[in-house]
């Protein structure tokens, strides 16, 4: 016991200076990063419930159109590709920030935001086409179960991408105004990256199980 006490002197702890509130941590993981992991766990349950609802109701629609009538894999593959590429630029941005190159990081962050915005744009076009040309209705007297579940699930994903784009833009403003210390606060960019990759992964799940599996066989 006393041996343990020797290794845990007050001096090592006082080095934190800011007490319990800033970089002090027991697990060796910054607070904000741990918080993001916990939040993403929570988000897994959120998207799990939305995607679960979609599959719980899959095939229950009493009126058309059906998934096969509306999905066009070609177009969605392009937007999926753009979102996947945004994960690459995000990773490069995080890396640049770690290497204390804030301007390079900002370029990649803006590139990520642009790719994310393209994805959202594709989704807007897709929703518009489904709604006007293929008569897949979200709500109201002509709505179908497929319409309600599909738009809600993918809509919430699109909202998450939009929130991510806003976050990326705010971050690039902070970097421009030099309000983000490159070495010390690189973790803020890294945490944003975690969120971005998570949103990307959710889309891979949706694209695979909702879109692609529809055309199995």
């Amino acid at each position: 016991m006393s041996a343990h006490a020797d290794t845990l002197t007050h001096d090592s702890h006082a080095a934190d200076g800011h007490g319990a509130l800033s970089e002090n941590n027991f697990l060796g993981l910054p607070n904000i990063k741990l918080a993001m992991w916990a939040f993403l766990g929570s988000e897994c349950m959120f998207f799990g419930s939305l995607i679960g609802t979609y599959f719980f109701y899959h095939g229950n629609s009493l009126s058309g159109p059906l998934p096969k009538d509306v999905f066009s894999i070609g177009i969605t593959s392009i937007s999926t590709f753009l979102l996947l590429m945004s994960s690459v630029t995000m990773a490069l941005g995080v890396d640049a920030m770690r290497q204390q190159k804030p301007m390079r990081a900002r370029t990649f962050i803006l590139l990520t935001a642009a790719l994310g915005a393209c994805f959202v744009g594709f989704q807007v076009v897709e929703f518009h086409e489904f709604y006007t040309e293929k008569h897949l209705i979200f709500a109201g007297p002509n709505a179908s179960l497929f319409g309600s579940t599909f738009y809600t699930m993918t809509g919430f994903h699109g909202t998450h991408v939009t929130v991510g784009v806003i976050w990326l833009l705010i971050m690039s403003v902070l970097i421009t105004k030099k309000k983000l210390v490159p070495g010390k606060e690189a973790v803020n960019v890294e945490v944003m990256g975690l969120y971005w990759h998570f949103v990307d992964i959710v889309w891979i799940v949706i694209f695979t199980f909702v879109y692609l599996l529809e055309f199995l066989k």
Partner: protein, 616 residues
């Protein structure tokens, strides 16, 4: 021998604070201090406990005699719905949040939670949600009346009115508040522990709080999704819950109970933690099977996600699902039994003392066990089919939630109030409170077992005189008056103790854990120096085990204290605007509500930007 007086000799720390704390009302509005937020939560919980109790009193008066017509139909349904909603979300949960806010940082030797402003955001969002749910009485003249479980399609527009809009809106805000709090406290407990406080040295109450934070963070999203789908159905006309379009009533039940059952453990685990803290102090022993108690709590939390189907045995899930949920439910008995035997083992053949806190902690054990045993009966689908929606079920969950959760919280109040206020509660009043409450509770709820077995269904507002249910119902109503009287006495004791109570000193109970080493009430920065933890019972060992004293550093520590902030309230208010916009989307009296959504969304973006750029 060392004593806690040693700590008074420590140098006062040197403060750094960006902006000074405000005073008076402004202080309470802008505070990010976990202790003040804890008091706000606790006070709100006590207030809603009285309101929820009043609602119960009213509908028990209706049920006292057969064929009465005092509160009938939707009025009765509204009272029942709001009694349950209030007690679960607005009374017991905030009291738990109060304890976890106030004591988790103290128990782990930290200065505050990991994200103090996020903590304030949780509180204000909770506050907004609690007002929203009850606002339906103001704006619609009626309470939501679909039961606290709000089964869709009963809650869709076809079958219910405007009060349900307030219900989903309020619950959505409460869900956001709980998820954010969950993330915040997971980080706090895992990362802000004092040096040397390895996981197995974390106090059991803090451990149980850690488990429920995971439950909050992971179980609220499913019900949030359920509520969002309900909101879409009611506001936009989507068809999630309309059976005419192919919708399935099971959907809501799954989403709700996937949240609802972990929620039950959110309500009970903190009380188990409080009991596990109190028993060792008054038996002068370490907790028997300390690690087993911790692991069984974790196991209960884990299995809690796999048992929700036992609420749906009568919903027709099929024999395979029924069998699976029956077995997972039965497994819960094992860790629970481990805890019960360990508590008994702690007390067995010890030199106990019996202050009120200890009385409540002891009576928690048999009362909770009774509720647990009747719960085990419901794990069996054939038995459950007989008991479902009868008063037997009502008896079961009140033994768990009142005899268990609430008695545990009462024990916590008597044990911890001296730390919060610096004053002891009156023991004579406390003992009267305990005995009257215990008798009243059993007179109320024990007869309900018999009523259920005699076939009285839940959620009916009256019954014929010749049904054979008269005596038990009259007894139950009488018992409620005893419980109400005892609770009022408790509140009286609480308030008068602030003025007349004996000074508590730092460590009135000669206790084990870190929160008792600082003054009562603790200073804003909690501890003059960061304690180093060498054992499971750091303060006990400091006092009674030579060589295990907590070292007092010679030089003063420099600490950075968080500054007061308005930003959390801004974000809460903006999020509230989005919800109100959805609530009144298509308009009230010709004024459309949807612009509020846009204003709220812009408000969130603006205030989050102001939040992240605010110097702390």
């Amino acid at each position: 021998m060392a004593s806690i007086a040693d700590f008074a000799a420590a140098q006062k720390p040197i403060y750094h604070q960006e902006r000074p704390s405000k005073t008076g009302l402004m202080d309470w509005l802008t505070t990010v201090d976990h202790k003040k937020i804890g008091i706000l939560y606790g006070g709100a919980g006590l207030f809603w406990l009285l309101i929820g109790g009043l609602e119960a009193l009213l509908f028990r008066i209706q049920l006292a005699r057969p064929d009465q017509h005092i509160f009938i139909g939707d009025t009765y349904n509204g009272l029942v719905t709001m009694h349950a909603t209030t007690m679960v979300f607005l009374a017991v949960m905030p009291m738990i949040a109060g304890f976890s806010n106030y004591f988790v940082p103290l128990m782990i030797g930290a200065r505050d939670v990991a994200f103090p402003r996020m903590n304030a955001f949780s509180w204000w969002t909770f506050f907004a949600g609690s007002l929203t749910i009850n606002a339906s009485l103001l704006f619609c003249g009626a309470f939501p009346a679909a039961g606290w479980t709000g089964y869709a399609p009963l809650t869709t527009k076809e079958f219910s009115g405007m009060p349900i809009d307030f219900w989903w809106a309020g619950l959505t805000l409460l869900a956001v508040s709980s998820m954010v709090a969950g993330v915040n406290f997971v980080v706090t407990i895992l990362n802000l522990r004092a040096p040397g406080m390895t996981l197995m040295r974390v106090p059991v109450l803090t451990w149980m709080m850690l488990v429920i934070q995971f439950l909050l963070a992971f179980s609220f999203p499913p019900v949030a999704v359920g509520l969002i789908l309900l909101a879409f159905d009611r506001t936009f006309g989507t068809v999630f819950y309309s059976t005419g379009m192919g919708g399935d009533p099971h959907l809501w039940q799954h989403l709700f109970w996937l949240f609802g059952h972990p929620e039950v453990y959110v309500l009970i685990l903190p009380s188990m933690g409080i009991v596990s803290e109190i028993l060792p102090v008054f038996t002068r022993r370490p907790l028997f099977g300390h690690h087993a108690v911790i692991f069984s709590g974790v196991f209960i939390g884990f299995v809690g996600f796999g048992v929700w189907g036992h609420h749906m045995f009568t919903a027709g899930m099929g024999p395979i699902a029924d069998a699976a949920f029956a077995s997972t439910t039965a497994i819960v008995a094992i860790p629970t039994g481990v805890k019960i035997f360990n508590w008994i083992g702690t007390m067995y053949n010890s030199k106990m003392t019996f202050p009120t806190a200890m009385l409540f902690a002891i009576s928690f054990i048999p009362m909770f066990t009774l509720g647990g045993l009747s719960g085990m009966m419901h794990a069996s689908p054939p038995l459950d089919l007989q008991q479902h929606d009868t008063y037997f079920v009502v008896a079961h969950f009140h033994y768990v939630l009142v005899g268990g959760a609430l008695q545990g919280l009462f024990a916590g109040f008597y044990f911890y109030m001296p730390k919060i206020s610096g004053k002891m509660l009156n023991e004579t009043l406390g003992k009267i409170h305990f005995w009257v409450f215990l008798i009243g509770f059993n007179v109320t709820f024990f007869p309900m077992h018999l009523l259920g077995n005699h076939g009285m269904p839940r959620r009916i507002y009256t019954y014929p005189a010749d049904a054979g249910w008269n005596t038990e119902n009259l007894l139950a109503t009488g018992g409620v008056f005893l419980m109400a009287g005892a609770t009022l006495l408790f509140v009286y004791n609480l308030i008068t103790s602030l003025k007349n109570g004996k000074d508590a000193g730092s460590d009135p109970w000669d206790a084990n854990t870190l929160e008792w080493m600082t003054s009562s009430p603790p200073p804003v920065h909690n501890f003059d120096f960061t304690p180093v933890v060498l054992s499971e019972r750091p303060l006990w060992d400091h006092k009674y085990t030579p060589g295990m004293e907590i070292p007092v550093p010679e030089q003063a520590e420099e600490i950075h204290m968080p500054s007061p902030s308005w930003r959390p309230m801004w974000v809460s208010a903006s999020a509230g605007l989005i919800i109100v916009g959805l609530l009144t989307f298509s308009g009230i009296a010709g004024i459309p509500g949807w612009p509020l959504c846009i204003v709220g969304a812009l408000g969130v973006i603006f205030s989050v930007y102001a939040w992240v750029t605010e110097p702390v």
